[in-house]
């Protein structure tokens, strides 16, 4: 226990923390902040307003009556839009009087074409709302045949969703997309933080030439395991801190909590999943996966740190490994969780393999340290 506490204190020494803060800040500024400040992005503000209103009116799922009601309300708004156009001097000059006429104009008909973009900026976004509602109504009539799939299992899954009717839930594409971006960038931030903080843990002993002394004692032989436990605890703490911060920011800045009860297989999402997860549970699952990923990475860092003979080899291995992980690994690990275009067991299998490898490496190393030749 005493060794463990000392190790923990060494992990969080002030120099490392002083390095971590600016790195975290810069990473946040470059890759995360955008997804908070630009949500909803651009004209999606109008879509978002309508989608929020839908949840307020109909709950997280829409039935046939709700859809009829939505169409009715759309008709009212459309009438309003028609009236606005009919009274618009520019429209009168061009000889158009309805929404349909303006929006079905060909690009060659420049006057009307320009009028449509001009109208979007007027009338408090009325025309944006009309467009947003139309796009949603267009998605009422989706059916399984519309989706391109590569295997019959995928097709069967999509059909199942439609039979069970879970696609009637309301989870907009841009909300899910925004979360996907945020969570994978958070995973990267977690990995970077772990590397910065845990990287030197074993290497400090190598560089201060104390290994020979340590490994002649019983406790010294167990140091690898003790340090590993300390790293795992430290990693868990760091991940908790980062993810708690993220959760606060997410709930506070991009308040999507009203959609948390909607299933992921929503007709608005444009994506199907192997599980009937609700968005809130999906968030919980991805949080769990970040813990798993973080702890696996911690074992990797520990092993590299144990064998590195110089800072050059320590960073020379960790930095390219992290880059490779980001380039090839983040997408399958964080963005394709239970998505239908992967095989059904893709996500559980991927993480199980990672965990098994990490456990095997850790156990093998801990055993090996007991009998390791130190000369």
């Amino acid at each position: 226990m005493r060794v463990f506490l000392h190790e923990l204190r060494k992990i969080f020494n002030w120099r490392v923390v002083a390095l971590l803060l600016p790195i975290g800040f810069l990473f946040y500024m470059m890759f995360i902040e955008f997804h908070f400040t630009h949500f909803p992005n651009g004209s999606q503000v109008y879509d978002y307003a309508i989608q929020q209103e839908m949840v307020e009116r109909y709950g997280n799922e829409m039935n046939a009556a709700d859809r009829a009601d939505f169409k009715e309300r759309h008709a009212e708004r459309l009438a309003e839009a028609d009236a606005y156009i009919a009274n618009h001097p520019d429209a009168q000059a061009l000889g158009v009087s309805t929404y349909e006429e303006v929006w079905s104009a060909e690009p060659e008909n420049e006057g009307v074409w320009d009028l449509s973009s001009q109208l979007l900026d007027e009338a408090d976004g009325l025309f944006w709302y009309v467009q947003a509602e139309r796009s949603i109504i267009g998605q009422f009539d989706l059916h399984p045949g519309l989706y391109e799939t590569t295997t019959t299992a995928q097709q069967a899954r999509i059909e199942e969703v439609f039979v069970e009717g879970t696609h009637h839930s309301i989870l907009p594409f841009h909300v899910r997309y925004n979360y996907d971006r945020l969570i994978s960038n958070m995973a990267m931030l977690v990995v970077i933080s772990l590397v910065v903080v845990l990287g030197p843990l074993y290497f400090r002993d190598t560089t201060s030439n104390v290994l020979a002394i340590q490994y002649t004692t019983r406790l010294g032989r167990r140091l690898f395991a003790r340090k590993l436990v300390a790293s795992l605890v430290a990693a868990t703490g760091m991940i908790t801190l980062l993810m708690a911060g993220f959760l606060c920011a997410y709930v506070f800045l991009n308040d999507t909590t009203m959609f948390w009860e909607s299933t992921m297989n929503s007709f608005l999402n444009g994506m199907f999943y192997w599980l009937d997860l609700r968005f809130g549970w999906y968030i919980a699952v991805t949080f769990g996966l970040i813990y798993v990923l973080g702890l696996v990475v911690t074992v990797g860092i520990a092993v590299v740190s144990r064998f590195a003979q110089s800072y050059f080899s320590l960073l020379g291995i960790l930095v390219p490994a992290v880059i490779l992980l980001f380039v090839f690994g983040i997408e399958p690990l964080m963005q394709e969780v239970f998505k239908v275009y992967r095989v059904a067991y893709f996500t559980p299998l991927l993480y199980s393999v990672l965990v098994v490898i990490a456990c095997a490496v850790a156990i093998f190393r801990i055993k090996r340290e007991q009998t390791l030749d130190i000369v």
């Binding site: 500024m29 110089s310 050059f312 020379g316 930095v319």
Partner: protein, 418 residues
């Protein structure tokens, strides 16, 4: 001199250096293979056109190319008359209206012929339109686009004045026919693949490598705890000079190695022999909203040579910065992350300095910002790199700064207490 040699050997023969070099090259080759898979054939085709008909798209080109096209159509019609009892007038129309089932009925070689004819026709059609398109293009098109893209309405006057020389340059481009030269076509994005993807990745990888190697070399004695011996002697204090030379030579060697292999792979996947002398400002190199307009008349080959030269200088700058940091911070681990923080901070600078500030548009003048946009080097580019001399100013200023700081660091080190 002997010490420089030893130091270089230490850096370049380390197994990790080889791994990093191989990894960088492997990533680049991965990109090249994926791109070649997508449109290697189309590139080879255009390159052949360049070889056979020349790259300036003048009347002579149009005449000879039109003949070649007519011949192709004739050959095609021999096949279609015999096979389908039909004839083809416009290969492009025929091609775009063809359904999948119809395509199945074609013999493969004849289908290739049709595809080729369609590509030829597409080039001919585009050549006809070039003059009209460039007539519409002036300074304001660029300025307005930048203003709306970056929300610079309040700074409009300032932005406009920064591009004051652009109209004249556009006139020269059109007058000298730089825009009417044959390149692969913006839809294939070859310029972006080579510079924006490959060269940028290479620059980032080399910078990481150089930072690690530099700090490894400079702090070697401190890490191995031999500094008390080495730096106790007069010669030992001069060791830093040898290390400096070794780092700079290694930087150049590694840059040459990685760039050499990458470019060799690139040009064996995509033949450029027919378009070397085409201008980079060519209409057929128009990839994004605005065309590429180089501030000076540059051919594709010249641009490549300049880009290679800039890469070497950028790596020397990175090596100098890492060298200075390493002298002052003796922990290599910290040096690496401080370098990372510095690069990140300089990169986000244009985003955090308020646009009203006098300095706004100077915040782009850093080597790290430069590394992000190799495809816009020496070209008309966004307001943070607006000057025609952006590259020259940035490289000169930072290299001088780097050398100056390195000299200071070496001076200080000679008398430093260990």
């Amino acid at each position: 001199m002997r010490l420089v040699g030893y130091e270089i050997r230490k850096l370049l023969t380390s197994p990790l250096t080889s791994i990093l070099v191989i990894l960088t090259i492997a990533l680049n080759v991965f990109v090249i293979v994926a791109e070649a898979d997508r449109h290697g054939e189309a590139i080879a085709f255009v390159n052949n056109v360049g070889t056979e008909h020349g790259h300036p798209l003048d009347d002579a080109f149009v005449a000879s190319f039109r003949d070649a096209y007519a011949q192709q159509i004739q050959e095609l019609n021999v096949y279609t008359r015999a096979r389908f009892d039909a004839s083809v007038d416009s290969a492009l129309d025929y091609w775009s209206e063809m359904t999948f089932d119809e395509q199945q009925a074609w013999k493969e070689s004849a289908f290739d012929m049709l595809h080729k004819a369609a590509q030829m026709e597409s080039i001919l059609l585009q050549v006809d339109d070039i003059d009209a398109i460039y007539q519409e293009l002036d300074q304001d098109v660029f300025v307005e686009s930048y203003i709306s893209q970056f929300g610079l309405d309040e700074q409009a006057e300032r932005v406009r004045s920064m591009y004051a020389g652009l109209d004249q340059r556009l006139h020269t481009v059109v007058a000298d026919g730089e825009h009417k030269t044959l390149f692969f076509g913006g839809e294939y994005g070859m310029h972006s693949t080579l510079y924006r993807t490959l060269l940028r990745n290479t620059l980032i990888a080399l910078s990481i490598m150089m930072t690690l190697l530099t700090t490894f070399s400079v702090n070697y004695e401190f890490e191995r705890r031999t500094e008390q011996h080495t730096y106790a002697t007069k010669r030992g204090r001069l060791l830093l000079r040898d290390k400096w030379a070794a780092v700079m030579i290694s930087s150049t060697t590694l840059s040459a190695l990685v760039l050499g292999v990458t470019l060799m792979a690139f040009f064996s996947a995509f033949p450029y022999s027919g378009v070397w002398e085409a201008a980079v400002s060519s209409y057929f190199n128009w990839e994004y909203d605005l065309p590429y307009i180089s501030w000076w008349p540059l051919s594709v080959g010249e641009f490549l040579i300049l880009a290679i030269a800039v890469t070497f200088v950028l790596q020397l700058i990175v090596a100098h910065l890492a060298f200075v940091l390493s002298v002052f911070i003796r922990n290599s681990y910290v040096v690496f992350f401080v370098m990372l923080i510095a690069a990140g901070a300089l990169l986000i600078l244009p985003g955090v300095v308020p646009v009203e500030s006098v300095f706004t548009f100077f915040t782009g003048y850093t080597p790290f910002s430069m590394m992000m946009d190799p495809h816009y080097w020496f070209m008309v580019s966004h307001p943070w790199a607006a000057s025609a001399y952006y590259e020259v100013i940035t490289l000169t200023a930072w290299l001088l700064l780097g050398i100056g700081l390195a000299i200071l660091a070496m001076r200080r080190f000679r008398k430093q207490a260990i």
